[in-house]
């Protein structure tokens, strides 16, 4: 094991030194660390409980009748705390003690203390009335915490539950890597199948497999406990049997080179494409609607990915291009548009959309492109807001309808063959899919072009890129324009799909959500961005669009915010990172690894890596 330090743990390590003992008795723990972990866990528990998440999500059953999503949100914290408290930072020079019974004991203690937050909350709920500022300070919460029993029951039961869950979190450290992986696979499979219930039911109906879903799911949502057990068993067996092979196959593809690699990639893309074309035929309205929403965000995210991921320009006003695209398409196609209403066919309007958004991109881009990165972020945010305010204002309401927006936008007609409108999500999805294919192809080709390399050079070091003869201003401006045009496609489809545009669909938070999608998926990685929008938009939902977990709609923005912080702290390269980007982010660690292996003789490598903050 080499000395890889996950980013962000460096200072935590400095603050909490790992005890040196290689083997330890059960009760010899780093008590300060445990207390801190438990305190953080308790605060998190109280916050989650007071945010109304458990009460609201209690309606959504994961496994009937034992577990609802509401209780799941409460159980995750002691589990994580119990697991995390045994975390050791593996660094050269610090001894690593073996996992043992103390992991379980520590996990149990930490979990119990973390869940103790809920016990405390139960007592407070019974004795004080703080409903004035805290809207969720309700008897319902008290009842949920006490499982319908008395307060003292709640106090005891949560300590016990916390201890048990925390201990199981600690137990995870004792498992070997294969068993742990199997356990994770089982958990993800069961949770995933439960979460995807509407999707699975919808698809099964399309394929005539109602019998299966009737057996799998209880009537009022959630998995039957029997089917949950069966699923867990199947997933476990599959994990034990197949896990190694999947990884092997992936490695085999990863080491392929040149034409062979291209062929494999081509095959994979063809397979995915075919699946995406065939799948909607069997799916009902719900699935197609969901897929169409995901597709719209894939388009937006791919556009932002070029700006943020490739060129490294943090554009917080990206929603402006989405808005301009939508409004241009709406004005040009709708008969109800107040001033100008040429009623063009959608495809003709699309040409104007591209031209106009490109010009707007140039107009916004040119003044900001010379600014330093953080000023640029704020100024683009300002532009995004200005554009929305202009669409909203009375001044331009003669053209854009002000707060009334433009309604009754006709669907998108394609060569007179077919018309795509929101009433038929399947056609919308195919339209989105076609544009996604274009966007993916464009992104993929651009990434490997001279321009793409120039973007990445600018991202990594602008001064050096300029010295290498890259015209940084023009290159960055081009990134802005290309990103704008990809975003405008999404806007044009959006207006045809929804049938109306309002200024309130283009709030700044849309930009932020797209940014979260790009960062979660992996900046600069096309696959990552697609996966990011599928997971986030598909499961949690977009700013206004519901996802699979419709119950989460109140909390999704909160989760997006937390996710953004967590990703930046723990995994800034994203879910599926682009190789180059993650190398860039972990430069120092790699240099350190190389130095430790003795590959770098020069002492300066050490000097560079020793720039950890002074404590």
């Amino acid at each position: 094991m080499t000395a890889v330090m996950p980013p962000g743990t460096a200072t935590a390590a400095a603050a909490a030194p790992v005890p040196p003992a290689p083997t330890r008795p059960v009760l010899a723990r780093d008590w300060r660390r445990l207390a801190r972990m438990a305190a953080v866990g308790a605060v998190a528990q109280i916050f989650i409980a007071l945010s109304n998440m458990p009460v609201r999500l209690d309606e959504r059953v994961v496994v009937k009748p034992v577990l609802s999503l509401g209780y799941l949100t409460l159980l995750i914290v002691p589990f994580a705390a119990g697991h995390r408290v045994g975390h050791q930072i593996k660094r050269e020079g610090t001894p690593v003690h073996a996992a043992g019974a103390h992991e379980v004991a520590g996990g149990a203690a930490c979990g119990a203390l973390a869940a103790g937050g809920l016990s405390l909350l139960a007592v407070l709920l019974a004795n004080f009335d703080l409903r004035e500022p805290l809207v969720n300070w309700s008897p319902m919460l008290a009842e949920l915490l006490a499982f319908g029993n008395s307060t003292s029951f709640a106090v005891v039961i949560w300590l016990l539950i916390g201890a048990a869950v925390g201990a199981s979190g600690g137990l995870m450290r004792l498992l070997g890597p294969r068993t742990r992986r199997a356990a994770v696979t089982i958990a993800i499979t069961v949770a995933g199948v439960a979460v995807m219930e509407p999707l699975v039911v919808d698809l099964a109906e399309g394929m005539g497999l109602e019998a299966l879903t009737d057996r799998l799911y209880a009537r009022r949502g959630g998995l039957e406990w029997v089917s949950a057990l069966v699923l867990a068993a199947v997933a476990g067996i599959l994990a034990v049997l197949g896990r190694g092979r999947l990884r092997e196959a992936r490695n085999r593809i990863a080491v392929q080179e040149g034409a062979k690699r291209t062929r494999t990639n081509f095959g994979l893309i063809l397979l995915t494409g075919a699946a995406l074309v065939i799948l909607p035929l069997f799916a009902g309205k719900l699935t197609n609607e969901l897929l169409a929403n995901v597709g719209l965000f894939v388009l937006l995210a791919l556009g932002l990915n070029i700006v943020v991921g490739l060129a490294g320009i943090l554009d917080l006003g990206y929603v402006a291009f989405f808005a301009v695209g939508s409004y241009t398409a709406a004005v040009l196609t709708a008969a109800t548009s107040p001033r100008i209403h040429p009623e063009m066919p959608w495809l003709v309007a699309l040409i104007f959309v591209v031209v106009i958004t490109g010009l707007v991109g140039l107009f916004i881009g040119a003044p900001v492109i010379r600014m330093r990165g953080d000023y640029l972020a704020i100024v683009t945010l300002g532009f995004g807001e200005i554009i929305r305010l202009l669409f909203l204002s009375d001044w331009l309401s003669g053209t854009f309808g002000g707060s009334q927006g433009i309604t009754k936008i006709p669907g998108a007609g394609i060569f007179g063959l077919t018309s795509v409108a929101g009433t038929d999500p399947r056609r919308v999805f195919y339209l989105v899919l076609a544009f996604c294919a274009i966007a993916i192809y464009v992104s993929w080709r651009l990434e490997r072009s001279r321009l793409g390399r120039a973007w990445m050079a600018v991202r990594e070091d602008e001064t050096v890129a300029e010295a290498m003869g890259i015209n940084t201003v023009n290159v960055k401006l081009l990134a802005f324009v290309v990103g704008a045009i990809l975003g405008s496609f999404s806007g044009a489809i959006f207006s045809a799909k929804v049938g109306s545009v309002f200024p309130n669909s283009f709030l700044i938070l849309v930009s932020i959500v797209i940014l979260v999608v790009v960062i979660f998926g992996g900046m600069g990685s096309i696959v990552g961005v697609i996966a990011g929008s599928a997971v986030l938009i598909g499961v949690l939902g977009g700013p206004k669009q519901p996802g699979l977990l419709a119950e989460f709609s109140e909390f999704k923005l909160l989760i997006y915010g937390a996710l953004l912080i967590w990703m930046m702290l723990a995994r800034p390269e994203g879910l599926i990172p682009s190789v180059r980007r993650s190398r860039e982010l972990h430069q120092e660690e790699m240099a350190q690894d190389a130095w430790l292996k003795g590959q770098v003789e020069d002492d300066t490598a050490n000097g560079d890596t020793a720039t950890a903050p002074a404590t």
Partner: protein, 373 residues
Amino acid sequence: MLRTGRPRRRTSRTGVDWFLTFLRVALLTLVIVGLLAFIWQEIDTDNPFARWANPDATGLTGAQFRGLIVSGVAQGCMYGLIALGYSMVYGVLGFINFAHGEVFMVGAMTGMITSNKLADAGLWESNFIGSLVFIVVVSMIVCTLTAVVMERVAYRPLRGSPRLIPLITSIGVSFFIQNASIVLLGPAAKAYPDVPDWVKDKHTFMQIEGARILVVVVAAVSMAVLWYLVEHTKGGKAMRAVAEDAEIAALMGINVNRTIVRVFAVGGAMAGLAGILWGILFRSVIHTTGFLPGIKAFSAAVVGGIGHLGGAMAGGITIGVAESVGPLLILEPLGVSGVSQLRDAVAFAVLIGVLLLRPAGIFGERLPAEDRT
């Protein structure tokens, strides 16, 4: 032409340069034509030039004009107080703490909760000044804690990473705090209790509401205290040293971490104070309260020259006055209708204009060399 404050790197001018020059000229022309039209319109409403620019121009009366200026100054003082936090953090760490506006919102919310509790107990009416001091203290403590926890959790682990990363994190923090406020306190706007008449009513002195006088006085006093803290105490000296060069400061025996925490604490306290002033002035607070004032305060910090304490305050007042007067002074005479809706757009336009015309702000920046790229 105004100097851009940055040495020219190229001798040949590219298309972008021409475009920027065009934008600068267009912006100045817009402002000048608007102002001229306004002046004409003030002299004589039936003046043909004013008629041509805006057929139904009415002009402003002296009282209206004074009212706009006063409300702009009061609002600007609040922006200035928030801007201090942005400016100080930028000076020390070199990144925009995007979530600072939310600290301000937390302050306003804390004030709302505390003052309503006090009003329930009857203390708010009977002893207004005392309760006001109390809610200010509570709100400053809560905001200081928020800012310090924020620094510890989200920013300290990221010190030394590429500069966009803490910025993105701070966007996440901002988003999180805003939505945490929604889920904990509910999405509806919440009201402050009623304030005494002397705060609400206009005084004989220049017809200004008491609340606005209060805001300006409190801002001036806290500015003076802060100036003393930064310029004349040992801790302030440490802050300036860290802002100049953190590594050298550490070598000189300054505890850099503690100093940074202190900077966040001071910024948070100022934001908390601004939050209370906001509450007294507008008597309503909602989870988005922090967003626009935050952005405008950042604009104020940039306009005044980032890293400059006095600059932040001056920038705040500039932005406040510009957004309250600008729409009526420049846009209305040009025939733009419904100008009051555009005040936020004007505030952003001021930021963009300043960055186009003079990126270093009015008083110039005080940043370490490596951040001035």
